[in-house]
């Protein structure tokens, strides 16, 4: 579709919340006249809503303990000692 290419940039600008009020009006006017672009916007909004519907998940209960158990050994003390010995 011809109009899709010229309006696609504007549609994404609009979805990023970065369209000026004039640009928004231009787009809204176009969407009222062009069912193709209107559908395009609707589908994009639907896809975003689907992604956002993915519920937040939490780290497993023993996560912090596991990280702490795997921390590398601090070398400072032994290193200083061995340097001192020399």
């Amino acid at each position: 579709m011809k109009c899709e290419q010229s309006y696609e940039q504007l549609i994404h600008k609009y979805l990023d919340g970065e369209a000026t009020s004039t640009e928004r009006q231009t787009l809204e006017k176009h969407l009222n006249e062009c069912s193709h672009c209107k559908m395009h916007v609707r589908e994009l909004k639907k896809a975003i809503a689907f992604v956002q519907s993915a519920s937040h998940i939490e780290a497993p209960k023993d996560f912090t303990a596991n990280v702490m158990a795997n921390l590398p050994q601090k070398k400072t003390t032994s290193k200083t000692k061995s340097t001192w010995k020399r």
Partner: protein, 187 residues
Amino acid sequence: MEAIVKRIILEIKQGDEQAFAELVELYKDKVYQVAYRMVGNAHEAQDVAQEAFLRAYTNLDRFDTNRKFSTWIFRIATNVAIDRLRKKKPDFYLQDQVQGSQDLTYESQLAASDDLPEEQIVTAEMQEWVQGEINRLPVKYRTAIILKYLEDLSLKEISEIMDLPVSTVKTRIHRGREALRKRMRHL
């Protein structure tokens, strides 16, 4: 929040190893969430998130405390995840045909859990489907989409995490959105 984080980091740098546990507690869910959405399964997500914290611990001296810790840890975590994904063999999808079978898909092989209320099944299925679609995105779009729509971060923060200009982040989000639209529009 930032003041607390600064205090904790100072304590760690002064040799208080246990203070690191506080830092992990503060960020573990966010980091795990990003890892999970990137790699698509709990086992690897745990590995990735843990590795990210261990790298942060080892490199803490290089962290500039005037910056946001969340930006730094997200950057480490997404890099670890991307490394993993590169090394991994290509994924198979549930809809793919089982090798040597005519019209058997992996999906049809999964046992149906019929003791759950219908609503719960739908929700769980939807969640799985959304995650599957996120995982089908090329990694560079996937990272941007996750940070934008699941972590709700600004384009500027995403550009710092991904170490890319804001304009490039925008392009990736646009392409990611279009790819998702094409796959999701029929539902």
